[in-house]
Protein backbone atom coordinates (compact mmCIF):
# COMPACT_ATOMS: atom_id res chain seq x y z
CA UNK A 1 0.00 0.00 0.00
CA UNK A 2 2.58 2.53 1.11
CA UNK A 3 4.80 1.25 -1.67
CA UNK A 4 2.17 2.29 -4.23
CA UNK A 5 1.82 5.78 -2.76
CA UNK A 6 5.38 6.73 -1.86
CA UNK A 7 7.28 4.70 -4.43
CA UNK A 8 10.98 4.53 -3.75
CA UNK A 9 10.92 7.27 -1.12
CA UNK A 10 9.34 5.34 1.73
CA UNK A 11 11.98 2.63 1.54
CA UNK A 12 14.74 5.19 1.02
CA UNK A 13 13.70 7.07 4.15
CA UNK A 14 13.93 3.90 6.23
CA UNK A 15 17.36 2.99 4.91
CA UNK A 16 18.56 6.57 5.44
CA UNK A 17 17.32 6.48 9.03
CA UNK A 18 19.10 3.22 9.63
CA UNK A 19 22.31 4.46 8.07
CA UNK A 20 22.17 7.45 10.39
CA UNK A 21 22.17 5.04 13.36
CA UNK A 22 25.15 3.14 12.00
CA UNK A 23 27.13 6.34 11.41
CA UNK A 24 26.24 7.59 14.90
CA UNK A 25 27.55 4.27 16.26
CA UNK A 26 30.84 4.92 14.52
CA UNK A 27 31.08 8.40 16.03
CA UNK A 28 30.25 7.01 19.48
CA UNK A 29 33.00 4.41 19.17
CA UNK A 30 35.70 6.79 17.97
CA UNK A 31 37.85 5.94 21.01
CA UNK A 32 37.07 2.23 21.43
CA UNK A 33 40.12 0.04 20.79
CA UNK A 34 39.53 -2.58 18.12
CA UNK A 35 36.23 -1.13 16.89
CA UNK A 36 35.70 -1.49 13.16
CA UNK A 37 33.75 1.33 11.49
CA UNK A 38 30.69 0.19 9.52
CA UNK A 39 28.56 1.74 6.84
CA UNK A 40 25.51 0.70 4.85
CA UNK A 41 25.83 0.31 1.09
CA UNK A 42 22.83 2.52 0.45
CA UNK A 43 22.12 1.60 -3.16
CA UNK A 44 22.31 -2.15 -2.51
CA UNK A 45 20.21 -1.94 0.64
CA UNK A 46 17.55 0.10 -1.13
CA UNK A 47 17.48 -2.30 -4.07
CA UNK A 48 17.09 -5.20 -1.70
CA UNK A 49 14.24 -3.53 0.15
CA UNK A 50 12.41 -2.67 -3.04
CA UNK A 51 12.65 -6.16 -4.54
CA UNK A 52 11.67 -7.91 -1.34
CA UNK A 53 9.03 -5.47 -0.17
CA UNK A 54 7.39 -5.12 -3.58
CA UNK A 55 5.12 -8.16 -3.26
CA UNK A 56 3.38 -6.69 -0.23
CA UNK A 57 5.13 -8.98 2.24
CA UNK A 58 6.02 -7.40 5.55
CA UNK A 59 9.72 -6.84 5.68
CA UNK A 60 11.61 -6.92 8.89
CA UNK A 61 12.81 -3.39 9.40
CA UNK A 62 16.48 -4.23 9.79
CA UNK A 63 16.97 -7.44 7.88
CA UNK A 64 17.38 -5.74 4.52
CA UNK A 65 20.15 -3.33 5.38
CA UNK A 66 21.91 -5.73 7.74
CA UNK A 67 23.18 -7.76 4.82
CA UNK A 68 24.54 -4.62 3.19
CA UNK A 69 26.41 -3.30 6.20
CA UNK A 70 30.06 -3.31 5.30
CA UNK A 71 33.24 -2.53 7.16
CA UNK A 72 34.99 0.63 6.16
CA UNK A 73 38.49 0.38 4.73
CA UNK A 74 40.67 2.77 6.76
CA UNK A 75 42.90 5.31 5.03
CA UNK A 76 45.61 4.55 7.53
CA UNK A 77 45.72 1.68 10.03
CA UNK A 78 45.95 2.60 13.72
CA UNK A 79 47.85 0.85 16.47
CA UNK A 80 44.77 0.10 18.58
CA UNK A 81 42.84 -1.44 15.68
CA UNK A 82 40.16 1.25 15.60
CA UNK A 83 39.16 2.19 12.06
CA UNK A 84 36.95 5.21 12.82
CA UNK A 85 38.08 8.37 11.05
CA UNK A 86 36.03 11.16 12.54
CA UNK A 87 36.23 13.52 9.57
CA UNK A 88 34.97 10.81 7.28
CA UNK A 89 32.15 9.82 9.60
CA UNK A 90 31.05 13.41 10.09
CA UNK A 91 31.00 14.00 6.37
CA UNK A 92 29.01 10.83 5.75
CA UNK A 93 26.63 11.79 8.55
CA UNK A 94 26.06 15.26 7.09
CA UNK A 95 25.52 13.85 3.60
CA UNK A 96 23.11 11.27 4.95
CA UNK A 97 21.16 13.86 6.94
CA UNK A 98 20.81 16.02 3.85
CA UNK A 99 19.62 13.07 1.77
CA UNK A 100 17.16 12.16 4.52
CA UNK A 101 15.79 15.70 4.40
CA UNK A 102 15.44 15.53 0.63
CA UNK A 103 13.65 12.19 0.74
CA UNK A 104 11.40 13.46 3.49
CA UNK A 105 10.35 16.44 1.40
CA UNK A 106 9.46 14.07 -1.46
CA UNK A 107 7.30 12.04 0.91
CA UNK A 108 5.68 15.18 2.27
CA UNK A 109 5.01 16.43 -1.26
CA UNK A 110 3.32 13.15 -2.07
CA UNK A 111 1.15 13.41 1.03
CA UNK A 112 0.24 17.00 0.19
CA UNK A 113 -0.80 15.98 -3.33
CA UNK A 114 -3.00 13.22 -1.97
CA UNK A 115 -4.57 15.47 0.67
CA UNK A 116 -5.36 18.07 -1.95
CA UNK A 117 -6.95 15.45 -4.21
CA UNK A 118 -9.07 14.17 -1.32
CA UNK A 119 -10.24 17.60 -0.34
CA UNK A 120 -11.10 18.42 -3.93
CA UNK A 121 -10.27 22.11 -3.68
Amino acid sequence: MSEAIFGIHGAALEVRSQRMGVLASNIANAATPGYKARDIDFAAALDDRLTRGGDGATVDMFSGADAHTLYRAPTMPTLDGNTVELNREQLAFAENALAYSATLSFVQGKVNTLTRALQGE
Binding site: Q18, G21, A28, N29, A31, G34, Q90, A97, Y100, L104
Partner: protein, 136 residues
Protein backbone atom coordinates in the same frame (compact mmCIF):
# COMPACT_ATOMS: atom_id res chain seq x y z
CA UNK B 1 24.81 -6.43 29.91
CA UNK B 2 21.87 -7.15 27.61
CA UNK B 3 19.25 -4.48 27.55
CA UNK B 4 15.53 -5.15 27.60
CA UNK B 5 14.58 -2.21 25.43
CA UNK B 6 16.03 -1.75 21.95
CA UNK B 7 18.73 0.84 21.60
CA UNK B 8 17.73 4.18 20.13
CA UNK B 9 19.76 7.16 18.95
CA UNK B 10 19.09 8.72 22.35
CA UNK B 11 20.25 5.83 24.52
CA UNK B 12 23.25 5.39 22.22
CA UNK B 13 24.26 9.02 22.67
CA UNK B 14 23.62 8.88 26.40
CA UNK B 15 25.94 5.89 26.78
CA UNK B 16 28.63 7.45 24.62
CA UNK B 17 28.47 10.64 26.68
CA UNK B 18 28.71 8.72 29.97
CA UNK B 19 31.74 6.85 28.66
CA UNK B 20 33.43 10.10 27.67
CA UNK B 21 32.60 11.52 31.10
CA UNK B 22 34.32 8.58 32.82
CA UNK B 23 37.33 9.10 30.57
CA UNK B 24 37.46 12.81 31.30
CA UNK B 25 37.10 12.24 35.06
CA UNK B 26 39.96 9.75 34.98
CA UNK B 27 42.20 12.22 33.17
CA UNK B 28 41.22 15.02 35.58
CA UNK B 29 42.01 12.80 38.59
CA UNK B 30 45.42 12.15 37.11
CA UNK B 31 46.02 15.86 36.63
CA UNK B 32 44.89 16.57 40.18
CA UNK B 33 47.38 14.03 41.49
CA UNK B 34 50.28 15.25 39.36
CA UNK B 35 53.23 16.06 41.56
CA UNK B 36 51.85 14.27 44.62
CA UNK B 37 54.53 12.39 46.53
CA UNK B 38 54.57 9.30 48.75
CA UNK B 39 57.16 7.76 51.02
CA UNK B 40 57.31 4.39 49.25
CA UNK B 41 57.04 3.11 45.70
CA UNK B 42 53.90 1.08 46.45
CA UNK B 43 52.05 4.03 47.97
CA UNK B 44 52.68 6.43 45.09
CA UNK B 45 49.74 7.40 42.88
CA UNK B 46 49.57 5.72 39.50
CA UNK B 47 47.61 7.26 36.63
CA UNK B 48 44.25 5.69 35.75
CA UNK B 49 42.75 5.22 32.30
CA UNK B 50 39.20 4.42 31.23
CA UNK B 51 38.84 1.29 29.09
CA UNK B 52 36.16 1.39 26.38
CA UNK B 53 34.35 -1.57 24.87
CA UNK B 54 31.71 -1.72 22.17
CA UNK B 55 28.16 -2.67 23.07
CA UNK B 56 26.36 -3.94 19.99
CA UNK B 57 22.57 -4.09 19.94
CA UNK B 58 21.67 -6.75 17.39
CA UNK B 59 18.00 -5.79 17.19
CA UNK B 60 18.62 -2.27 15.95
CA UNK B 61 22.12 -2.63 14.51
CA UNK B 62 23.39 0.21 16.67
CA UNK B 63 26.70 -0.02 18.49
CA UNK B 64 27.19 2.00 21.62
CA UNK B 65 30.20 2.32 23.86
CA UNK B 66 30.65 1.26 27.46
CA UNK B 67 33.41 2.06 29.88
CA UNK B 68 34.62 -1.21 31.37
CA UNK B 69 36.07 0.18 34.56
CA UNK B 70 39.38 1.88 35.08
CA UNK B 71 42.84 0.52 34.56
CA UNK B 72 45.85 1.60 36.56
CA UNK B 73 48.90 2.17 34.42
CA UNK B 74 52.07 0.27 35.19
CA UNK B 75 54.39 3.25 35.01
CA UNK B 76 56.98 3.32 37.76
CA UNK B 77 56.87 6.37 40.07
CA UNK B 78 59.74 8.79 39.84
CA UNK B 79 62.26 8.48 42.64
CA UNK B 80 63.54 11.84 43.79
CA UNK B 81 66.19 12.63 46.39
CA UNK B 82 64.75 15.14 48.84
CA UNK B 83 65.94 14.50 52.40
CA UNK B 84 64.23 17.64 53.74
CA UNK B 85 60.79 16.41 52.69
CA UNK B 86 58.54 15.27 55.57
CA UNK B 87 57.54 12.15 53.58
CA UNK B 88 61.10 11.14 52.73
CA UNK B 89 62.09 7.55 53.58
CA UNK B 90 65.20 6.46 55.51
CA UNK B 91 67.47 7.08 52.48
CA UNK B 92 65.98 10.53 51.88
CA UNK B 93 63.94 9.57 48.81
CA UNK B 94 60.37 10.50 47.92
CA UNK B 95 58.29 8.84 45.18
CA UNK B 96 56.50 11.13 42.83
CA UNK B 97 53.35 10.21 40.85
CA UNK B 98 54.30 9.49 37.20
CA UNK B 99 51.70 11.79 35.63
CA UNK B 100 52.39 13.22 32.18
CA UNK B 101 50.49 16.51 32.33
CA UNK B 102 50.54 17.21 28.61
CA UNK B 103 49.32 13.71 27.80
CA UNK B 104 46.44 14.16 30.23
CA UNK B 105 45.56 17.55 28.72
CA UNK B 106 45.51 16.00 25.26
CA UNK B 107 43.32 13.19 26.57
CA UNK B 108 40.84 15.72 27.98
CA UNK B 109 40.81 17.71 24.74
CA UNK B 110 40.22 14.61 22.63
CA UNK B 111 37.47 13.45 24.93
CA UNK B 112 35.77 16.85 24.80
CA UNK B 113 35.98 16.83 21.02
CA UNK B 114 34.36 13.41 20.74
CA UNK B 115 31.67 14.42 23.23
CA UNK B 116 30.92 17.45 21.05
CA UNK B 117 30.72 15.26 17.97
CA UNK B 118 28.17 13.02 19.61
CA UNK B 119 26.04 15.97 20.72
CA UNK B 120 26.12 17.41 17.21
CA UNK B 121 25.12 14.09 15.67
CA UNK B 122 22.22 13.75 18.08
CA UNK B 123 21.07 17.29 17.37
CA UNK B 124 20.94 16.59 13.64
CA UNK B 125 19.17 13.28 14.16
CA UNK B 126 16.68 14.82 16.56
CA UNK B 127 15.90 17.64 14.18
CA UNK B 128 15.25 15.16 11.37
CA UNK B 129 13.03 13.06 13.64
CA UNK B 130 11.02 16.15 14.56
CA UNK B 131 10.64 17.12 10.91
CA UNK B 132 9.36 13.63 10.13
CA UNK B 133 7.00 13.77 13.08
CA UNK B 134 5.55 17.14 12.13
CA UNK B 135 4.88 16.26 8.50
CA UNK B 136 1.22 15.85 7.75
Amino acid sequence: MPEARPMTMFSLTQKAMSAQMVRMNAATSNLANAGSVASSEAEAYRPIRAVFTTELDRASGLASVRSDGLMRSETAPTKRYDPGHPLADADGHVWEAPVDESAEMVEIMESARQYQNMVQALQTAKQLMLETLRSK
